[in-house]
Symmetry: C2
Subunit: 356 residues, 2 copies
DNA sequence: TGTATATTTGTGTGCGTGAACATATGAATA
DNA sequence: TATTCATATGTTCACGCACACAAATATACA
């Protein structure tokens, strides 16, 4: 058990017969350096396998990094409220370090709001950003601006192929649909048809929801569960009495015995309809541990929830950025979260365990 | 958006009209301090809400903390292999910081080995320890020693009421049994009896396994699933041909249609029997994503796994200790992991996502 | 060869805290 | 009142790195 004394810049300098500043220049390739010096320093670096002391490094450059988080207003939607909570938690976590984290909220239902808020975020002059790019076109446009200003960013929740983020944090939507299918298929006992419900107010999301549906349908197809007929319904704009009526009519008309809802908000809206109309024998699979969803799960109306863990997505997003900026740690290019299955007996274990 | 300049010890000292050393003494309550000075410093501290700069703090105290991990030999058992992997990962994660992490492995099947290895770990003179206390009596004895030497420790995997650890990391066993029950109950279609299999080689664990069984039985009782008869079987010492024969006899004799296995190793051992004897229609619920278990899940022999996440338990244990020692962050007293449900369609999402 | 200028290298200080060491203060004792 | 000693407080440097600034060396040109 040899006691290694850590190699410092000073040691490298001595080995290469130069000053610490020269080593520093090599390390951060700034300033000009003679071939000869460069070679000697690089040699020493390689021989020793020098690793900078990140602690000292951060302390030395007394820079305060600014991170801007751009996401939908938490007040308007419980899903985004959870994301907001994740960012808040991250703020606490990193409060002792040289980072300032500022949140910028846009209106989930207004594209123009995204543009404006993105502007505000830029005015903050962040060193890096965490973004939930729910509006596709506007987001892509914004990424262009970020690129021109060479501001690195991490995306979460929604992936956008055209983007070039440092990292994407989210879930595999297709596979998520398959999980929903497996859950539903297991729980279904009586015959009948299956409903896939897309309930969303931001049309932008439609394409992502279809991805879930594709996974869902594929599972049934591959497993030769063709006795079930899968019917999908789109509710682009939500309006309570009308929504309730339409859903109810559809359920009765099409003899639905199982429902897969592709959104978190849609989950409790649908549950509410089942609850009010005493249709608890219909199996319901939805998304996320929102307050209302938890309630309906305790009540037995919702059978399964697939947890997208918005809180953790946001938390990890910030954490990745801090590590990236302060400690030059490269986050994974894509971090696809596990597809967590929540049901009656394990929901509490998820509620009470911290931010895992 | 006010730009806060961080308050430093120096500032506090100025406010209180004393030197930085005095403030330092108050902060770390070492050395003697006059009432008057103490009061003034405390006041300044509270007024400003002073938070130490952890970066500078770590750099300043150039101490290298030593952490010893005491756990079963990863080579002997795939479950503990995963714990070992978690510690390895933690080692990487913290390699740049002033901590040395050393692992000490004991033989899972020999109490005496625990004692000896614990001695060796002590000889390493750790500042803190992470322990998997699988041998109850020996562990309790060892905790006494640690207490007398005032070495703080964190327990994982197995909880021991008599211990006074900084933190315990593990799962709620009772609730875990209930989850197993819910899974099994959902998947069961045909009638028949249910088997609870305890397969273990370290008798010490028996009491913990019974806790899972209690949860399992309670679920069935509370949900009035009394058409199912639950029979439990104990296999204290494993011996292949004999085990296979006995299990098979029991399954046939008692008309078993569903099995709940309380251990991770037992899961694939049981799966192997089902597989060899073409009994795939029996529903099998087991524990943990061991290599063999994963294989049997892909194959459809194992229907559900409850993930205890040994890798993450160990990883988090080390991380908590590092934060505790270096940054004086208090970990939660108990960190009960969520009861993760693994099945065919979401297992990959767990395998491919990092250390969540 | 001397001077101006570009290029390369070196020195020193600050970051905020920890801790060894030095000093001041006041009480007890001779 | 002088001396001793415990107690309370202050000074200073180290930690390892970043970076501004100063210095040295090389090159160009008259």
């Amino acid at each position: 058990m040899t006691e290694f004394k850590n190699i410092r810049i000073k040691d490298i300098a001595a080995m290469a017969g130069v000053s610490v500043a020269t080593v520093d220049r090599v390390l951060h390739n700034r300033g000009k350096i003679s071939e000869k010096a460069l070679k000697k320093v690089v040699e020493a670096l390689e021989q020793t396998g020098y690793k900078p002391n990140l602690i000292a490094s951060t302390l030395g450059s007394n820079k305060v990094y600014k991170i801007a988080a751009l996401l939908p207003d938490p007040v308007l939607d419980d899903y985004w409220n959870q994301s907001g909570a994740g960012i808040f938690k991250a703020k606490e976590e990193w409060s002792q370090y040289n980072v300032r984290i500022e949140s910028f909220y846009f209106n989930l239902y207004e594209k123009s709001s995204f543009r404006e808020t993105a502007e505000k975020a830029l005015a903050y002059e962040p060193d890096s950003m965490l973004i939930a790019p729910v509006f596709h076109r506007e987001a892509v446009e914004f990424f262009g601006v970020l690129k021109s200003k060479s501001i690195p960013y991490i995306l979460f929740n929604t992936n956008i192929p055209e983007a070039e983020p440092v990292s994407f944090i989210g879930q595999d939507l297709y596979q998520s649909g398959r999980v929903g299918a497996e859950l539903l298929a297991t729980k279904l006992v009586k015959d009948g048809n299956i409903a896939v419900l897309h309930i969303y107010e931001d049309i932008q999301n439609a394409v992502h929801l279809k991805e879930k549906e594709r996974g869902f349908r594929d599972y049934f197809m591959e497993n030769k569960l063709d006795s079930f007929n899968i019917i999908s319904y789109d509710f682009g704009t939500y309006n309570e009495p009308e929504f309730d009526r339409e859903v109810l009519t559809a359920l009765n008309r099409d003899k639905i015995s199982g429902i897969f809802v592709s959104t978190s908000k849609g989950s409790y809206l649908t549950a509410s309809v089942l609850d009010k109309n005493n249709k608890r024998d219909i199996v319901l699979v939805g998304y996320d541990m929102l307050k209302d969803n938890i309630h309906y799960m305790y009540d037995g109306v919702i059978n399964y929830l697939i947890n997208q863990n918005p809180r953790k997505q946001a938390f990890l997003g910030i954490s990745y950025l801090v590590n990236y900026l302060l400690f030059r740690k490269q986050p994974p290019v894509t971090d696809l979260f596990p597809l967590e299955i929540i049901m009656h007996e394990n929901i509490k274990s998820y509620l009470y365990s911290g931010l895992h």
